[in-house]
Symmetry: C2
Subunit: 192 residues, 2 copies
Amino acid sequence: MSPRGRRPAGEDTRAVILAAARQEFAGKGYDASSLRAIARSAGVDPALVHHYFEGKPELFAETMELPVRPAQVVAALLDGPREQVGERVVRTFFGIWDSPDGRERLVALIRSAVSHEEAARMLREFLAREVFGRIASALGVPDPELRAGLAVSQMVGVALMRYVMGLEPIASADPEELVAHLAPTLQRYLAD
Amino acid sequence: MSPRGRRPAGEDTRAVILAAARQEFAGKGYDASSLRAIARSAGVDPALVHHYFEGKPELFAETMELPVRPAQVVAALLDGPREQVGERVVRTFFGIWDSPDGRERLVALIRSAVSHEEAARMLREFLAREVFGRIASALGVPDPELRAGLAVSQMVGVALMRYVMGLEPIASADPEELVAHLAPTLQRYLAD
């Protein structure tokens, strides 16, 4: 018997899961969302979610249409001299966000959420857990979660001012100038 | 002939100006608001605004029920060794925001705005221009406006996570631990 009614097939299933995930993440934030709850609200077996998506970070990245895969970004940021990790982090973020495509997607993802606030919350929780938290843990600093939170507070703070609110002079600043100011901050939070 | 109808007297006038200011700041942000436009929307002569309020920063502080006067805070922050200005800034902010009264007012002011986003925008613009911008200028660093923007992005970013969103572990962190991490950041942005 082929599945129908409750559970659509193929690309449809994928789309249904993505829609359910979008709603779950927006409503509960990243941390409190679970693949199990997303499967339930999509009306599919949890195994199907794992069939289509590697895990929660990858599913989140797809619902937000993030232009990068979290695990690959973290691996790339950790690949290089420890004393330059802050600079790599800041340069990578502005590299993604400042590209016409990245900027458009960032603004779109924040606009597409129910409120900017919810979008910013999801982004904060996701970055803290899946990006900065992993970097701080890999580098063995004390209090990696607190440091990840500080890194998030700085990078999301700048992103909101630069891309969403357009507050000058941050909005039009040369990215290299921002890198010069922000790299030592991220270095201290994540690696010192 | 005593003024009536268009212009109430005494405390009423003050309250009408405050209400008009609240609306103007929320609608246009801090930077784009003017005392002249506030007077016009309150239906009073601009001289009356100056009679009741020292200037735009003081009027803003009153509409937001900020527990401190901006000019006094800036003077206090500049009074002491230059190499500790970052620490004084961070300690003063947490001193105000972490007190039960300060925390209540901060959350109330953000909740009382039409949206958290507008409140956060006003607070960012106000802090950049009237607090951090004045400190950076007084200390003679290059690009004082950019540095003020960076200082705002960090302090408002932490405040949103700690007081408004309640994101852990920032929300429950010991204030002294936050001071230890944030003081060097603010020192570099504002004074180095």
